[in-house]
């Protein structure tokens, strides 16, 4: 009886892993879809107008890069170029968004579309991530110029 329950649970868990992720990959296949950036527009005006308290702080960008590699690169790509699971961050919609809007999306995630909430990171670390993400455009532009 115990073995049967254990086997059933293992089967259910396996099914969740295989089919749950499969569906997720399917919905993410259009990673550059405009829907992926609509959340930025939903940021409340008050939050959108927020300034990055770490703007101009080079150490914040360096720390943000480290955080990006640890938490974001897996889905958004090592250079923020996007991947199967998440959209590119090197696009005008993100790079021209206000720091407050990017911070808001990072904090709240886009849960129904697969992006977890990142409010588990302290506020200052989320601003570090915003600092780094919004340098990706400059890095990309330099690459193009060269």
């Amino acid at each position: 009886m115990k073995t049967a329950f254990l086997s059933l649970s293992a089967l259910l868990l396996g099914a969740v892993v295989v089919f749950g992720q499969g569906e997720s990959a399917k919905t993410r296949s259009g990673a550059e879809s405009r829907f992926d950036y609509e959340e930025l527009a939903k940021a409340p005006d008050k939050v959108r107008a927020k300034h990055n308290p770490l703007a101009g702080d080079e150490s914040a960008v360096a720390g943000g890069k480290k955080l990006f590699e640890q938490h974001c690169a897996e889905c958004h790509g090592a250079e923020g170029e996007g991947g199967k699971k998440a959209p590119s961050l090197v696009v005008p919609a993100v790079q021209e968004a206000t720091p407050g809007a990017v911070f808001w999306v990072l904090t709240n995630g886009v849960v129904w579309r697969g992006m977890p909430v990142w409010s588990k990171l302290p506020e200052v670390q989320r601003w570090q991530l915003v600092s780094y993400v919004q340098t990706l455009k400059m890095a990309n532009s330099k690459t193009i110029l060269h």
């Binding site: 295989v18 749950g20 992720q21 943000g64 699971k85 849960v111 409010s119 588990k120 302290p122």
Partner: protein
């Protein structure tokens, strides 16, 4: 009993081997809680394998070492599912497998709010020899664990456990409150109630520029308190046990997390000490890998 010991050692060795062999870019940002839950779920597609130990003192019986292995998977950004396998060694007695649990956590609201609720639903099939004390409910007391394993393992519990995980982050602090209700699925089973509350904070809020194992931001510390609140037949605090437990977590950039938490009994019905520690490792992209394996590359 020898087989159970071998199973323990085998599982632990397997966990270590897999953990050491598999690279992981994603670092878990785990809270130090052992019993309390905050509202954060596993990242979608990630598998976290966790091993936890509890060494407990026992008046009127033998001290024990209870352990559980936990497989936590992020099915969706709003849904985490976990399988637990429990066992225990009672010193001077025996080692026994005590059952399994299947836990699901569902995020109820899309965005962050002043308080963030998560619904927790767990099915347990465990014997009465189970001593992991993952939660304290109803009139659970120290004396429940004094019976020899040969007798205790005769009793079986099929339980449904519901929790409402309420949590909030504020200025680097996390505060979490988890009321719980458990129902033995036998028709005669009463609803039992309990609670867990916790507060924790990373030792540093700003991330340093360098990758480092010993940076203060990798450590978080907190305290949790948990206990029983009686049942529908006899509600209240009489004949219940309660614990206060400071807790520390160390999140390594490699994806490993270590936790330590000594839990101190707050009344005569509680174990004097529940010394807990745990190690976990997160594997990002696990779901995608499995999906490719079973469905073929698309």
């Amino acid at each position: 009993m020898g087989v159970s010991r071998f199973l323990y050692i085998g599982i632990l060795a397997g966990l270590l081997a897999v953990g050491l062999g598999a690279p992981s870019r994603l670092r878990a940002q785990e809270s130090p809680y052992m019993v309390t839950y905050d509202h954060y779920l596993e990242e979608p597609g990630s598998l976290e394998v966790e091993y936890f130990s509890t060494v407990g003192t026992q008046r009127g019986g033998h001290d024990f070492h209870a352990a559980w292995l936990e497989f936590e998977y992020g099915a969706k950004a709003w849904w985490t599912t976990e399988l637990y396998v429990d066992g225990q060694t009672t010193f001077g007695d025996s080692t026994v497998f005590t059952g399994f649990r299947w836990e699901n956590r569902f995020r109820l609201l899309q965005r962050e709010h002043f308080i963030n609720p998560v619904l927790y639903i767990e099915y347990e099939q465990i014997s009465e020899a189970d001593k992991i004390v993952k939660e304290v409910e109803g009139h659970d007391v120290e004396a429940d664990h004094a019976a020899p394993n040969a007798i205790a393992r005769q009793g079986h519990n099929h339980e449904l456990e519901l929790k409402l995980l309420l949590s909030k982050n504020f200025k680097g602090w996390n505060v979490a409150v988890n009321p719980l209700a458990t129902k033995n699925l036998l028709p005669s089973g009463a609803w039992e109630f309990g609670y867990a509350v916790g507060a924790s904070r990373p030792l540093a809020l700003k991330a340093s520029a360098q990758k480092c194992n010993f940076c203060r931001e990798n450590f978080s510390a907190g305290v949790e308190m948990y206990g029983g609140l009686g049942d529908t037949v006899s509600p209240g605090l009489h004949e219940t046990s309660h614990y206060l437990a400071p807790a520390v977590a160390w999140n390594l950039p490699s994806g490993w997390t270590f936790r330590v938490s000594p839990g101190f009994g707050l009344n005569d019905n509680s174990h004097t000490l529940l010394m807990r520690w745990g190690v976990s490792r997160e594997f990002s992209g696990f779901g995608e890998t499995m999906s490719k394996l079973f469905r073929g590359r698309q």
